[in-house]
Amino acid sequence: MVNGIIGRKIGMTQVFEDSGKAVPVTVIQAGPCPIVQLKTQEKDGYQAVQLGFGTQKESRVNRPKRGHFAKASVDPAFVLREFRVQSLEDVSVGSVVDASVFSEGELVDVTGTSKGRGFSGVVRRWNFAGGRKSHGGEQDLRRPGSIGASATPSRVFKGKRMAGRHGAKRHTVQNLSVIQADPERNLLVVKGAVPGPPNGLLLVRKASKSPI
């Protein structure tokens, strides 16, 4: 059984629980993902399935890739991603993974690339408090303050949080509960926010850890 799927973030909205409580949700277009290749213990040293997602014009696919898809006899996909599996017994190349791998109430981990924020200061990047706005602190509003001691150690420690490139990194949000999974519409609705902008590529897997 494949425990994950490739998807695309569509956007957020809210739905109502039976109790009337409004729940923030993210709508994900999940799959359909044809299995393009199997990675085996003997040949590759690990077990995984390679899934395709999205469509790609035949003319945009280079020849090695075209051959790769032809071998699996599936249409060229926009992206290929691998998912580790415990056993390769009930999966076969060419079969399609869809949103039915998830069920309502199940917990999932969602991986995506967060929104890029460019070169950001320490207030945005590391949630520093900055300086105060009055009582003579006006010039230090968003400054980092001291970055270390003086003669000892005479240097700035490695890993010191400073301004720099922020976002556009791979992030995983764990244990989001599935509100709805509909293979017919390739629809997956999870509770809460997921990394990245609308249309961003997402990997949705069954939760690797159980919540406390």
């Binding site: 569509i10 956007g11 909205t13 809210q14 739905v15 109502f16 039976d18 109790s19 009337g20 409004a22 949700v25 709508v27 277009q29 709805q180 519409r185 629809l187 609705v189």
Partner: protein, 114 residues
């Protein structure tokens, strides 16, 4: 079809009466007290509707015992049992925030004949 819309449509109500800013409405809300459920009504003038599909809300203003109060309801919430239009109002803007600055006779809204 738009996936977000298709999700929202599953939760949207279809039996919402036609009402807008200026109208006096009676909103019957479900209140849960322990195991018991009862219906509480809130009556007042609609001062805004904030559109947005399933996320649409509306705000009702009433002046009770001299003190103004406003409540914002999610239009499609299952906790809203029903909405009754008591009186239609004739107004010339979409958001009636000016009512907050008025009291007594000045805070009236003209009735719309329909």
């Amino acid at each position: 079809m738009n996936l977000i819309e298709s999700v929202e449509n599953q939760y949207m109500k279809s039996d919402i009466p036609d009402f807008g800013p200026g109208d006096v409405v009676k909103v019957n809300t479900r209140i849960r007290e322990g195991q018991k459920e009862r219906i509480q009504a809130y009556e007042g003038t609609v001062i805004r509707r904030s559109h947005g599909g399933l996320k649409e809300t509306f705000t009702v203003r009433r002046v009770a015992f001299g003190a103004g109060s406003e409540r914002t309801f999610p239009l499609h919430s299952p906790n809203i049992e029903s909405i009754q239009v008591v009186r239609y109002g004739a107004v010339r803007r979409a958001k009636l925030y000016y009512l907050r600055d008025r009291t007594g006779r000045a805070a009236r809204v003209k009735e719309r004949r329909r």
